[in-house]
Subunit: 223 residues, 4 copies
DNA sequence: AATGAATGAGCTTTCATTCAT
DNA sequence: GATGAATGAAAGCTCATTCAT
């Protein structure tokens, strides 16, 4: 009831405009996940949002612009998710790593709908420079933070022989690759098993920080 | 002149037909890589093959059918590639693993054009059951072989604590995830570095078979 | 300050309304000249007037109505222009003729912007009876006056063989035809040369009133 | 019956293509005359030609292109008409002038439908450089020929005081201006009267060649 | 077997018009 | 009075598909 009331509350024009844009972006994500990128029409998006046909061009000028802003929204949401997880994490490098990896498999970003849309954009990326840029930026920011964490871990270990670049790109690859399973084998996919797989591979490389079961070793215990 | 004659040689109808179909599939892959899945039209495909407009419907009945057969071709080519590598590999499990992983990064299958097309199909997969089935089958066959190899490795190690499912899905995820880099960061991508990354992660889990530098340990040494 | 005050002065509702309507008609003329009739949208008109989108329908009910009133304004302005010229002219027929012809080439009505709009309406006239009526009325009124003047000139000459209808329609045709040059060859067009051309053609028909150089012969000289 | 048979005759593909293009241009002229430039849609054009909706984009790529080629056709037809008339005319300058002027009022080019289309294009000319160019070129070619004729007439007269530029631009203006009457006052317009009007104005300037009734004076008679 | 003109459904986009604020 | 978000009809255009040649 309170919710319904909010809906009826008079809002400022600016607020309404932003609301409409978000409605349309949500509807776009929904449609791409349901129908695919190639089969998503503006009519689908408008219908999905319960609005009229001309609405998208009114708020986004063109279909292209809507798609770009949808990808931007997705990238922002992804970044916000891991940044928030990082904010809540403990100070140690291994705890921050755990937070980052865990964030990638949270239901908010790691669900079949969202991942279907990510792959849709990756699929179009090569032929659309704008998408490519947005996707590359997403990765860059993530990997910069990951690189800092890995540098700390290597120093702490110490793991003098461990190649940091390989470590960083391998972690990213593992999560991205496991995301594909959400898409292709949705029934078999298990969020916890996926996280365990990442920990398994990391435990071999960071034995001073992780047990083979993914357990985090407290610092002093190593001596 | 001999060449020209070959061109003019009357071939069997079936052979010509198969030739045309392959021409069109090649042109489809080329176009998807260049223009993206959504922007690939039958006119593009026909033009790319230097053939007339109506040709695709003539040989494949519909655009959908062309796309399905293109994906099928890609999956066959991928399978043939790793199977051939397996055939040439030594008998030991670790050598067969090395062959499989190496195959995934061979230029024949791991190049920006082909990978762009794979992602294009993955992007559409969720909304098209036929694509999903083909993609899932590709993975199933690969992972069945991989599972056999990993079982051997675990027994050989022995690595009694090593989770085989995690190992198998992690290996697949690593290669798929590294493929994304070919698409998104083509300049930074380095085939050899990618392979080393996989070996790095495996060396932590299979210390009896692999050195941290990716070197394969000979069997006798273990005793 | 006085000016600013005038701007801020509360005017009567009717005055404001009339002001807005004129602003919109001016903007319409401006847009038709710039973009053409077919490409002039109400958004263009509103933007050009610095007003909001819905404003035209508010003041004119429909786009059609705005266009009709714009044409009406143009016709009124044209008529006012030659009538004012006539008012200032001497009493003799030849002086009134000179005033009329001169009026047609005054900068107020004979400039590329206004003429572009006239031709735009003439171009649509056949298919829109309302425009046709307004255009025909403009000509009728002008030609009625012209007919009176020509009758006097023929009597004065006297030029018993001169066909009055041909004379009148020829004069109109000459000015309209020369207007087309403003549109099509704006660089070559020369207001004074155009007027001389009209006089040149008239001098052949009205030798008792005009020298071949366009000079007006005083009355007494004829006797 | 013979006609029907012709229709059924197998023609070459190239011929069919040209036929279709002409059909569509004819239908475009018809529609602009009937509905006006602004209200002519591709659906109207296709329907008018009894063909399907997509046909115009197939043969002309875009609506713009169709309109440009329609104007081009009109300009070509106009030029062909006066050139053919010139070809049939006698050798003397006055006969060639008579042929040119007569051509401008022939039913083939001087009818309400065609003239409505000319004015439609003139109306859009200012805002579309391509139209402007085509219209200017039409005039240029015509006036170049007219200039040659007038030079001869002036020399023959001789009319040493006669301004050739004024004469040429005046003749063009007279015919263009009289065309407007076809549009605005179709009932009152009389092809013969219009021609007489041009002759009337010319007779005053070329007394050695023309009688006031438009009669051409034979050469010898001048002496 | 192959061509390419033709079709027509469906797309994105534009825009006159409406109306709550 | 005036605004501008929203509507929805209609436009131009694309393109898979058909089919006579």
């Amino acid at each position: 009831m309170a919710l319904a009331q909010v809906k009826e509350l008079p809002r400022s024009r600016a607020a309404t405009k932003e609301l409409r844009r978000q409605q349309l972006i949500d509807s776009t994500i929904h449609s791409i996940a349901k129908r695919g990128f190639a089969d998503t029409t503006l009519a689908d998006v408008a219908d999905g949002a319960g609005l009229s046909r001309g609405i998208v061009n009114f708020h986004f000028q063109s279909k292209d612009q809507l798609l770009v802003e949808t990808l931007q929204f997705l990238a922002d949401e992804y970044r916000d998710n891991w940044q928030k997880a990082l904010g809540k994490a403990g100070d140690s490098a291994i705890e921050r790593l755990a937070a980052l990896i865990s964030a990638d498999f949270e239901a908010a970003v790691c669900n079949r709908k969202k991942i279907a849309v990510w792959f849709a954009f990756w699929g179009e990326a090569k032929s659309r420079p704008t998408y490519l840029k947005l996707c590359a930026d997403r990765d860059l920011e993530y990997e910069a933070v990951m690189r800092g964490i890995c540098a700390e871990l290597i120093a702490e270990g110490p793991y003098p022989a461990l190649d940091m670049d390989g470590l960083v790109s391998g972690i990213s690859a593992l999560t991205d690759g496991l995301w594909l399973d959400v898409l292709v084998e949705p029934k078999a996919f298990d969020r916890e098993a996926a996280k365990r797989t990442v920990w398994l591979f990391l435990s071999g490389l960071l034995p001073r920080h992780l047990g083979p079961d993914g357990s985090i070793k407290t610092r002093g215990a190593g001596s």
